[in-house]
Amino acid sequence: MNELLLIPKRSLSILVQEVDDEILILDRKDNKIHQLNKVASLIWKKCDGHNSVDDIVELLIIDFDISPEEAKKDVIEMMRVLHEKNLLE
């Protein structure tokens, strides 16, 4: 499967707060809290059930002025972490 075509969507069991440019995510299933840095927060915001992973890579290239390779690596790694922590559907 081409992971760039996947459309990530945030879990329904979470609560989110934004502090400065960082996102805090509370998973209500286990009451664990996760803090995302600025880049991770931007990626997270784009996981809206509409954008594909490829779309998010494109947005990251524009917002952070980074190379397509770097953006792809960051987004795919972030997707892996979010899945691992059960923060995506």
């Binding site: 609560l15 707060q17 502090v19 400065d20 960082e22 996102i23 805090l24 509370l26 209500r28 009451n31 664990k32 809290i33 996760h34 803090q35 995302l36």
Partner: protein, 286 residues
């Protein structure tokens, strides 16, 4: 076990977070231990309402002695180990106090004060809170707690909980006084030096330091952290954050608290270096 306090000859009254706790016992030796552990929290009995009452009994059997801790409305706690007795009583008291003072945010943290600046050392058990606390007291800080820091979120005042400092091992420096209670698992440090350094009043919270033990590092390091990181860490180390929840499970409260403080991660290594760096940091704060 006996359910009436009047059967017991020995008793002490503690004032903790403006709540009164009466402890009654048939054993002068057990009460004597509690008098030492809670020297900084004892008050005379008065006409004021007692919020929590415990009965402590020493029961001899053929081959052993058992200590019973009783509180109305719950099962007795039983142990034959003095260290565990202190642990069980304290655990029950602090849980009950969280219910009574649900207006305060209870943080699993050491709390100290220097030059009217209160600060927390937040860490999970075993990360070095108590040992670092002992070092900082020796370096001139005033002692509020090595374990539990309730915070009034409106005033940002830390309430003192100056029980005897509870160490799991002897520290590599800052020799302990002879007046220590050594149990099977813990060393409880009390005595004149600690009493002189005890901060009896609330103290304004100026800084939160999240302590992490890193033996692999060549030296200790203090890093300023974002409000987001601090709020996440504070949330994880709060004992009753859900009591402060609206529809956000208490997240806003954690953010609100760290927005009024300086926030740091401390990667600690050698006790000497760690404690001196904390002192330097606190002295340099506004």
């Amino acid at each position: 076990m006996i359910k009436s306090n009047t059967h017991f000859q020995h008793h002490i009254c503690l004032s903790i977070f403006e709540c009164l706790i009466g402890i009654y016992s048939d054993s002068s030796s057990l009460l004597s231990i509690l008098e030492k552990i809670y020297a900084g929290l004892q008050v005379p009995f008065s006409n004021k309402k007692i919020n929590l009452e415990y009965r402590v009994q020493l029961v001899n059997s053929a081959d052993n002695q058992h200590i019973y801790i009783s509180r109305d409305g719950c099962d007795d706690l039983v142990t034959n180990d003095v260290g565990e007795f202190i642990f069980l009583l304290e655990k029950d008291m602090t849980i009950e106090l969280q219910k009574i003072r649900s207006d305060l945010l209870f943080v699993h943290s050491a709390a100290l004060e220097y030059d009217n600046k209160g600060f927390l050392l937040v860490a999970p058990s075993g990360a070095g809170k108590s040992t670092t606390t002992w070092a900082l007291v020796n370096l001139g800080c005033n002692y509020l707690s090595d374990e539990l820091a309730p915070i009034n979120l409106k005033s940002m005042m830390i309430y003192p909980y100056p029980h005897a400092i509870c160490l799991k091992a002897r520290p590599p420096m800052f020799v302990l006084p002879e007046t220590c209670l050594v149990t099977s698992q813990t060393i409880h440090v009390y005595g004149n030096m600690l009493e002189e350094r005890t901060q009896p009043e609330t103290s304004l919270l100026k800084a939160i330091i999240f302590l992490e033990y890193h033996p692999e590092l060549p030296e200790s390091k203090i890093i300023s952290i974002s409000r987001g990181e601090s709020a996440a860490k504070l949330y994880s180390n709060s004992l009753n954050i859900l009591a402060h929840s609206n529809d956000d499970c208490g997240m806003k409260v954690a953010i609100q608290a760290v927005s009024k403080t300086h926030n740091y991660r401390l990667l600690s290594n050698q006790l000497d270096d760690t404690s001196k760096k904390i002192m330097y940091l606190i002295q340099s704060l506004d």
